[in-house]
Amino acid sequence: MEDRSRFTYRFTTPLSGLAQRFTFLGLLIVAFALMLIAKADVAVMERLRAQVTDSVSPIIDIMSRPISIVNDAIVQINSLATVHERNENLRQDKERLMHWQSVARMLEAENQALRAQLNYIPGPQASYVSARVIADTGGAFVHSVLLNIGYQPGVDKGHAVVTGEGLIGRVESVGGRATRVLLISDLNSRIPVLIEATRTRAILAGNNSNRPRLIHLVPGATVSPGDRIVTSGHGGVFPVGLPVGLVDAVNEGGISVLPFVPRDRLEYVRILDFGLKGIINDDGLDK
């Protein structure tokens, strides 16, 4: 036994022998090769990634459950402390919303009447699938989250992912048990948007910070802090009018947008299916 363990020890002491050095260099070369393959053929690596993610997602799912329980408990305790204040706020909100409800009813009736006059063809109806966020796979390089559902009707690459407050991103890849969502703040995210009030088109470009930027605006367009940004539906990927965020600052560095949904508060999300395919299936345009 003693002999054997000494032998194993000597054999596996890393980088001591020639073979170990070759293994090290070989694996390093394999790693560089993987990076080059990933750059050349995105699809192969995406499939590999989806398979690995599928196999570990049940473990992450279980591990993330206690965290959501603790978070729920913290929220409960916090809300106990502010229950009176919240009650008062909610009462005021209710009054305000009752007013808005009557306005909305009136507008809806007017809208229907106008549509009837114009023979308007309504846009596709959305169906949705709810899912839980099991991993915030963040880091400084990538802004994406994993959801605990896999391939099923209504979940497909390119579908918009929202919470009650607004858009958070789009489905990047779907596996058997997990779905990866590319958040709007990611470096590779480009969402066609509108400035709601002026209907000016722009592209919301993620930059790996919490404030994505508006780019490709029409020259001379007026944008001011506080303007609401919604999806424009151009490119045929997202429907029109999903709330995205508010213009945060306009300066020489560009126009930054504060998303409605803070990334740290993601727990349950909805994947919307509008039956839109658009340009997203063309992998060349997907990046």
Partner: protein
Amino acid sequence: MKPALWSRLDMIARCITPFGLTVLLVLINVLPLQVPGLSRIMPLFPLMSIYLWAVHHPNLMPTYAVFFIGFLQDTLIGTPIGVHIITYLMVYGTVVWQRRFLVGKPFAVIWVGFSLVAAGATIANWLLVSLYYLILIKPEALVFQYLLSLGAFPLLSWLFMRWQLAFLSELGH
């Protein structure tokens, strides 16, 4: 026969714990903790783990285990596959190569060693991802992540030391 089998199984279980713990840290790193801002600057726990095991028990953390850990991290967090494999292998190689300056030294020396290695790894990561996407990634989050990692290092180091004393002391260095 039976006790021999059990002791062998026990031995194997102890030997794979460094790898197992590191994989666990990779998974913990991606849990949605819902603390504002934390997910962007989560300390580099897997890197610390690889560094610590490379210093204390390189024989229990072979090269292919490091490769697998880097691969798992890349696939999970969505960085181009290869980025973390390369940085982890470089960290591992550097530490094993320069191990005589670190092993058996006071904790402060090991901490300083980590600060250098982690700086190298962070810069290498930044360069690789920037080259891959052909765009300069904003380095602010990385700086915070690096500083937070330096701060968290003693904690993980202490936990691993307890683990070593409890389970791995008879395996020798």
